[in-house]
Structures are given as structure tokens and as C-alpha cells.
Symmetry: C2
Subunit: 308 residues, 2 copies
């Protein structure tokens, strides 16, 4: 059961010869969730042979071009390909009128519905849930209303303890009920609590996407214990004043968030084009959080299944 | 003295793993003219190490996303780089309000002026001229108002025949006047016509850009004798009905235009993603116009200097 993130774009606003601006694909059990959709997203999807028609949900953080300007071309391509299934779009409310204007200009009548879900950037709340994944918004601190997203694998149904199956001679109907949370009532009327009968074999995996943002204590509290944290690191700590002025983080601040939130792995990205390479970003972050990786376009970060 | 065209995008509306949508750079004496500006144009400029700050003029053919959706990101990047010099934009008038809307949404206050020049898609007229190049619009036949562009190198000043310099003992002041078109009046009052004193060593080179369009006899008349013709060839002749329905040309039709206009070289492009490769396009066109080449992203077509 796949749970992985593919980096489509790792630059900040100005692309470089090897880095496109922000876009990321989360694969949860072969269903794809696009997170940000900068200019060139559809080309990166093609280049990395990612099947566009598996994308039914797009999550946009904020209305800056380097996070959203690929959306109109992608929707146009979906339309030219005769897409039928609905496309769900989650973003701060400001995007809706801009989307409608550009879709009106750049596409013929759409062959599929685009369903816009406004996300309040000031609070953390559940914005999407199905039987594979839940998505919770994360308030970020940027120059415009900006929201990150926390993806959590939906817990699988628990396993029944083998010894209990024998001990209570559980039948299939009992097992289904117990897996769905019921206690077991024995023939003699004794109630065996669900917790005594079950255990969770597979633990839900999680991914938090935090770009663009200043360092935020509140955010650290909301992403505690995630398996994979993508945190922007536009600048080096030597340029912390510039980071503050522009509403961005340094590599040190990204790593500080990772340490504070006790995450499993940190991926830094959204690098300013002012830096020729990002070896210093990596060193700065690894000094305090060794499990840091620097995003490169095309990389895949897979979280293996976890067993409890 | 360079006169070359770099292909930035050779696909039609749907990009492929190796082809971006339409954008082209004409280099005239190291001054760059961008022709169409699809999504990803700024990334291709970076990738092919083309200096963005040499672009002062952008020519857009029509308001379809696969010819224009890179414009807002490029303008944003120019702004982030602190550009000061004016940017001249030539396009059918419909683009202006769309441009203003998106520049308003996706950039802070611009650090440079964008000067919009509406181009009438129904007639052929001079739309730009400086001492290096002139640009004439070409009415195209597509589903929306669409205009091609004919770029002609501005003729250099003529050379003075060496034998005349000796025969008439011409001084520097005389030579400057004659190069600029004056006849020579000898001390004895005899008038020597300018044509007898001068010759054009270097002939002006030309490039015509024709995308998107149906085959057009009128167009053939307007591009007669160009050195390099870019003509779209979205489809194969087997799909000529589809070409007609969608306002596009086949490879055969592109080559027919090249034959009719007696051009030097034909580059076909804007290939539909339905074709796995474009060898058949090339064969179909070369059957009637052998000097045909199939555009690939990153290719440079240079026209060598021509001497009369």
C-alpha cells in the first residue's frame, strides 16, 4: 500500500535550469493528491510518467503564481483529454474567482465538474476524508492567506487476536462486527470489550506540507509526530532577515520545526534561486535534525508501511 | 551577425514527456524576440541558457492557453529580478484585459512598464521596426482571432564600390551621404546616381511564424521567399478532416505552403500528442518539400548571412 510523495518542483518563485516551482504529488494507495500546482506541473507529470487521470483532488496553499499558475493549463489538458470525473479543488477562497476567470478564458465548456472547496487559512480543520486518507488544514504565516495540509492515512480496520478467535469460537459475523468496533457478547452474557479482542497491525502514515511560511510554534504543535514533513527552506540562516521580510523560513528554522514536532523525516525545498546549490541548506538543517533531505525535482519519498 | 530561431516548445495543446507547448525565440543580432509564450516558457529559457533580460519584445499569435499561459509567470519573474526596461507585447486585442487581470493577481507593483500593442488579425501590416528588424503581421485562419508574424532583417547600409571611391576621389563625408542614399555631385556638376556607386553586400534574412492556422493561399502570398518558415503541422494528411474541424494544418499542407511560397527552409511543429513520433509528418512534408525539418524542443535553426 503506497504512501509516497513525488517532488515536481523544488524552486521558489524563480525557476532554475533544474528546478521547477512548487508542485508535489502524494500517492495514497495509488490515488493521487496534487499539492500546489505551479507553472509546468503538467509537464512534470508527463516527464515523470505520473498518470494525470488518477488526480481527483488538488490542494493549493495560496494565491501566488509559483504555487498556482499550472492549474489553468492542467484543467485545459484534462478537458482536451475528455475527462469526466469531478475535480475537487481545495484552496483559500481568493482562488475561486481567479480560477473561474481563467477557466472561462482558456477552456471551452468543461467536460467535467470542478468543485471548489474554500479553506479557511486561520484555523486547522478537517477539509477532506475518505476511506484512504484524511486531510486537515494547517494555518501558515505568509504574506497572503496561506494554508498547509496534513495528510493522514485512514486507519485500517483492526485485526482480531487469534487467541480470542479460538477462546470465544468467533464466527465470521462476529469478526466483522468486532472489526468495526463492537464488543463481543458471549453466550453466557459476558461482555468482552473490543479493545481486548483487537490490535492494529498497520499504523496510519502521515505527511505534512508546509509552504510558504515563517517559522511557527503553532504549526509545530499541529504536525507533531508526522512521518514526513515537507517544510520550506527558502533561505539560509545567514539571510534570516530576508526570510522574515518575505514571509519565508530558513533551513535552520525548518529543522527546528522538525525537531520540535518530533517528525520522522524532513524534506526541505522551495529554495531561492540566489543559491548556486543547496549543500549549505542541507548541512544547516542536518546539524540539528540529521534525518533531513533536500528536495530535487523527480525525487520520490516513500513511507514504508508501519506495524504496531 | 546572428539570425536564428530556437524552438522552446513543439507540442500542440497537450504537452508530451519531451515537448512543451508553443514558444520560440528569434535572435536577431543578439536581441531576442519571443514568439508565443506557452506554459513553461521561462523554464525552457532557463534550461537552454537563454538570457531572459535580452527579451524586450513578445509576439503572441492568439489567446489559447498553449500559446500564452507562460506569460504571467515570465512577467512575474522579470519583476522579481528587478527588471527596468520596458516590455513590448504584441497580440490580438483580446489579450490585454486577460493580461491586466492576471498581472494584477500574480505580481506586486511592476518594476517596469508593459506596453501592449494590439495587432489586427484581419490584415497584414507593419507592427514593429527598428534598425535591426521589421515585423509584419500575417492574418491566419484559426478558430479565434489569430495572427502570424514575418520578421525581416533591416537591410544594412550599402557598400560603396571601391573603384568609384578611387575614380571620384570620394571623401568620408561623401561616403556617409552616399551610403545613406544620396547621389554624388562631382566638382564638374555631373550627377552620379547612387545605384552606380553602391552595392548591397549582405542581404536581409527573414523568418515567418505561422501557427495556428488552416492552409491559406493568402498567407502563401504574404510569406513569399522567406528564408525560414515555421508552419504548424498539427496533423497528418490522413487526419485532414480533423485538421479542418479544429482550425489546423497537416504536414502536407505546411509543405504545400512552403512550395507555393518558394521558401528556403520549412520547420514544422505544433504536433498533436496523438502521434507517438513525427517521422510520418516529416516524410509527408519532404515528399513535396525536401528542405523540411521537424521541430524539437531546444533545437536552433540559424540562417547564415547571405551575400548578394
Amino acid at each position: 500500500m503506497t504512501f509516497s510523495v513525488t517532488i515536481l518542483g523544488s524552486s521558489s518563485a524563480i525557476p532554475t535550469p533544474t528546478r521547477f516551482p512548487s508542485a508535489h504529488v502524494l500517492n495514497v494507495h495509488e490515488r493521487l493528491f496534487l499539492v500546489d500546482c505551479a507553472e509546468g506541473t503538467q509537464m512534470q507529470l508527463r516527464r515523470f510518467h505520473i498518470r494525470m487521470n488518477r488526480i481527483n483532488h488538488i490542494f493549493i496553499t495560496h494565491l501566488h503564481g509559483d504555487h498556482v499558475l499550472g492549474l489553468f493549463g492542467l484543467i485545459s489538458t484534462f478537458n482536451l483529454l475528455g475527462r469526466k470525473q469531478p475535480l475537487h479543488l481545495f484552496a483559500p477562497k481568493e482562488l475561486e474567482s481567479v480560477l473561474n476567470f481563467n477557466v472561462g478564458v482558456f477552456t471551452d465548456k468543461l467536460s467535467f465538474p470542478v468543485i471548489f472547496h474554500p479553506v479557511d487559512p486561520n484555523m486547522s480543520q478537517l477539509v477532506f476524508e475518505d476511506r484512504h486518507v484524511s486531510v486537515t488544514s494547517l494555518p501558515l504565516r505568509h504574506k497572503v492567506p496561506t494554508v498547509g495540509y496534513l495528510f493522514k492515512e485512514t486507519p485500517s480496520l483492526p485485526n482480531i487476536r487469534k487467541d480470542c478467535i479460538q477462546q470465544y469460537s468467533l464466527g465470521l459475523a462476529d469478526i466483522v462486527k468486532i472489526k468495526n468496533g463492537a464488543d463481543y457478547i458471549a453466550p453466557d452474557g459476558k461482555i468482552i470489550p473490543n479493545a481486548e479482542l483487537t490490535f492494529h497491525a498497520r499504523l496510519p502514515r502521515s505527511f505534512a506540507y508546509c509552504s510558504d511560511t515563517l517559522y511557527s510554534e503553532r504549526l509545530v504543535g499541529l504536525i507533531r509526530g508526522v512521518d514526513l514533513l515537507y517544510h520550506e527552506a527558502t533561505f539560509l540562516d545567514a539571510d534570516v532577515d530576508l526570510a522574515r521580510q518575505t514571509g519565508h523560513s530558513t533551513a535552520l528554522q525548518a529543522a527546528t520545526a522538525a525537531v520540535g514536532a518530533h517528525v520522522g523525516k524532513l524534506v526541505i525545498g522551495h529554495f531561492s534561486s540566489r543559491y548556486k546549490n543547496i549543500s549549505q541548506h542541507l548541512q544547516e538543517a542536518r546539524n540539528i535534525f540529521p534525518e533531513t533531505y533536500a528536495a530535487e525535482d523527480g525525487q520520490v519519498y516513500a513511507i514504508p508501511e508501519k506495524f504496531g
